[in-house]
């Protein structure tokens, strides 16, 4: 589904390489986790895949279902089925959560040549999905992320993911700033979306999220490269010994 080959990325503004040859394949139906110390390039990978400005791809490729994503605008990548759950979701005052989500859903449908979703269908669907994530009516009406707690913001990310039904979901440090209960709720939301035709890339610093979203494959990233790949046991190894062991392999 997602195929990354020899991806080299540097910061546009300065001559600093961040990703130094990442190779990674995420298959449909699988959850891949990327773990790594701060500054290893985990978040950069998520930004580069979703099309954020400020990075320059100097070598390599990334394709989603065979389609090159690196040449697309962020909204085109979204329409192609890519979704990034932000580490720090942005507050947008004056724009209702529901209005925002409905335009996102319909913009993607339009881009894919599908019919727009009717108001009543949209309402029905969002109410049901919000309920599962314990998101009340009031939160749906409020401006996007404004005045939301850390947990509410992350649940709102998952709600967007549920409504947009992407093929590949990237979760960037989704556990940061969450207490155990909030993390469980978010993890349940994610698990509910696991399906044979959807892939996940879960980026996290700590193993604890992976107790709740159990990955099929774990990668360790260090200094801009994947340095080790294994099963869920790899995450527990990191938890026990830290990242020091892996750094030396670079």
């Amino acid at each position: 589904m997602l195929e990354i080959k020899n991806l080299h990325v540097k910061l546009e503004e300065e001559d600093k390489a961040i990703l130094k040859g990442v190779d990674l394949t995420v298959e449909a139906g699988k959850v891949h986790a990327i773990m790594g110390p701060n500054g290893s390039g985990k978040s950069t990978l998520s930004y580069v895949l979703s099309g954020r400005d400020g990075y320059e791809v100097t070598d390599g490729s990334a394709t989603l279902e065979g389609e090159d994503v690196l040449g697309l605008e962020p909204e085109e990548r979204a329409a192609a089925g890519l979704f990034l759950a932000f580490q720090y979701p942005v507050e947008i005052p004056g724009v209702g959560n529901m209005t925002f989500l409905r335009s996102a859903v319909n913009a993607q449908r339009k881009a894919r040549g599908q019919e727009e979703m009717s108001s009543s269908d949209f309402l029905k669907e969002i109410r049901a999905k919000a309920k599962d994530l314990q998101i009340g009516q009031e939160m749906l009406k409020r401006p996007v992320n404004v005045g939301f707690s850390g947990g509410e913001k992350k649940r709102n990310e998952i709600l967007q993911m549920a409504m947009l039904e992407p093929r590949l979901c990237i979760l960037d440090e989704t556990d940061s700033g969450l207490d155990v209960d909030a993390m469980k709720l978010v993890a349940e939301g994610v698990n509910a979306l696991r399906s044979p035709d959807r892939g996940f890339l879960v980026i996290t610093h700590y193993q604890r999220l992976l107790d709740h979203i159990v990955p099929d494959v774990v990668h360790i990233m260090s200094n801009g490269r994947i340095v080790k790949t294994g099963g869920p046991e790899l995450a527990r190894e990191v938890e026990a010994n830290g990242y020091a062991d892996f750094k030396e392999t670079v």
């Binding site: 979703s50 962020p74 909204e75 329409a79 932000f86 979701p89 947008i92 005052p93 004056g94 724009v95």
Partner: protein, 433 residues
């Protein structure tokens, strides 16, 4: 007040005033005549604004002071008029001329409404307000276009609010003639404990000079929501002079979209303890657009609150100006003054000039001001685009987000929603072009 010390007027300012006066006729008779004659004398002494005036540093007054109005085409936005769905008492002026047919019956419980042009008695309650608040507002800075208005206003409404009328009063200003030059003067007196909402909408004329004096007695409430007309070529200079009594409330919000030149001045005096004054504006300019908000709020009582919230979205060479001042007089302790002016510049061609000022003569006050100019927040733009929303549409949402703080100054939720709807329609229509 050293910076604003009155100087002898320039000969050019006096010449311009005489040329303008020659083109006008002073209405005679009735209780207003002494105030009009007084204003005419002041105008002759002060002259009209010229480009060298410090107070007109960022806005060219020429077309506002010229004897004739520059031509302005009318414009049909192709959408229902603003406030159309609201139950309101309509008072309609076409190019500054009262339209009785289109207006509602001016009778409404809790309020007395009369036309200035019809008010011919020698004794009238409005005599204590007409030209009086305007004259007080001439110090420390001269505002001669308001003086001109007091002298020559052809019509306007006189509103005495004695209760709580069941619906807003709605002044609707149509523009039909391409060279129309309208001068209207309104007086509003809100009596103790009374409460009114006044709506204003429409371009009014090719050139519009409007003055409104608002006296809010102790515990009275005055709410004002204005949507200035969309005609691209119209020009407007407006003044609001307000005097607030104890525990009174004054809230004014203005939406401006389009208009080649707009200067909105608001001059408020908080004279009774615990009074609250909020003045806000949201403006959107694209292309040939110059918008100037000039605000002067004087705190002259204890424990009063004032807020100024002005937001401007500018592109394609549009210009925004903000001159805002909070003056805290000696003894006006516990003053809470807040002022923010911000612009969102959507390209490199647009400009925003801001002159925020605080002048404080009391020692126990909290006053703050801030002014910023910025571009669209890239982080937020990426967030929206990453959800599939195209760049142009995402920019519209972030523009709405930017204007939100000003729009939220409108207390009534339905009216707030109406204004948001207007802004949104304006933005999305432009995107489609």
């Amino acid at each position: 007040m050293a910076l604003l010390k009155p100087k002898a007027p320039e000969p050019r300012a006096l010449e311009i005033a005489e040329a303008r006066i020659d083109a006008l006729t002073l209405p005679e008779g009735g209780w207003a005549e002494p105030a009009r004659r007084d204003a005419l004398a002041r105008l002759r002494a002060d002259g009209l604004p010229i480009r060298r005036d410090e107070y007109w540093k960022y806005t060219k007054p020429d077309t506002l002071t010229a004897p004739e109005a520059p031509e302005a085409a009318t414009f049909d936005a192709g959408e229902p008029p603003v406030f159309d769905a609201f139950d309101r008492l309509k008072i309609v002026f076409v190019d500054g001329v009262f339209d009785a047919e289109a207006s509602d019956d001016l009778a409404l419980e809790g309020v007395e409404i009369e036309r200035l042009a019809d008010s011919r008695a020698d004794i009238h309650w409005a005599k204590d307000v007409y030209g009086q608040l305007e004259a007080r507002g001439q110090s420390p800075v001269k505002r001669p276009l308001a003086t001109l208005n007091t002298a020559f206003a052809s019509d306007g409404i006189l509103v005495r609010v004695t209760g709580k009328p069941s619906k807003p009063l709605s002044l609707i200003y149509h523009h039909e003639a391409t060279r129309s030059d309208a001068i209207l003067h309104h007086v509003v007196k809100v009596e103790e404990g009374a409460e009114v909402t006044l709506l204003e909408s429409g371009p009014a004329a090719a050139r519009f000079n409007k003055c409104m004096e608002v006296e809010v007695a102790d515990t009275g409430t005055f709410r004002h929501i204005r949507a200035q007309g969309r005609d691209h070529e119209r020009r407007a200079v407006t003044h609001i002079f307000g005097r607030l009594g104890r525990e009174s409330v004054f809230q004014s919000f203005t939406l401006t979209a389009n208009g080649v030149l707009t200067r909105n001045e608001v001059v408020l005096e908080l004279t009774g303890d615990n009074a609250i004054a909020h003045v806000a504006g949201a403006c959107m300019g694209d292309g040939d657009f110059h918008h100037d908000d000039t605000v002067f709020i004087t705190h002259d009582a204890v424990n009063c609150e004032s807020r100024q919230v002005f937001k401007k979205v500018l592109r394609n060479g549009a210009v925004g100006v903000f001159q805002g001042k909070i003056l805290v007089e000696p003894g006006a302790q516990k003053t809470d003054g807040y002022q923010i002016s911000q612009s969102l510049l959507l390209d490199d061609d647009s400009t925003f000039q801001a002159k925020p000022e605080l002048e404080i003569y009391a020692d126990d006050v909290a006053c703050s001001h801030g002014s910023t100019s910025g571009a669209i927040d890239e982080e937020a733009l990426f967030y929206l685009r990453s959800r599939g929303i195209g760049e142009a549409e995402a920019t519209n949402y972030l523009t709405l987000a930017f204007l939100a703080e000003a729009v939220q100054e409108i207390a009534d939720e339905d009216l707030q929603a109406e204004i948001v709807e207007r802004i949104s329609a304006w933005l999305f229509r432009r995107q489609a072009r």
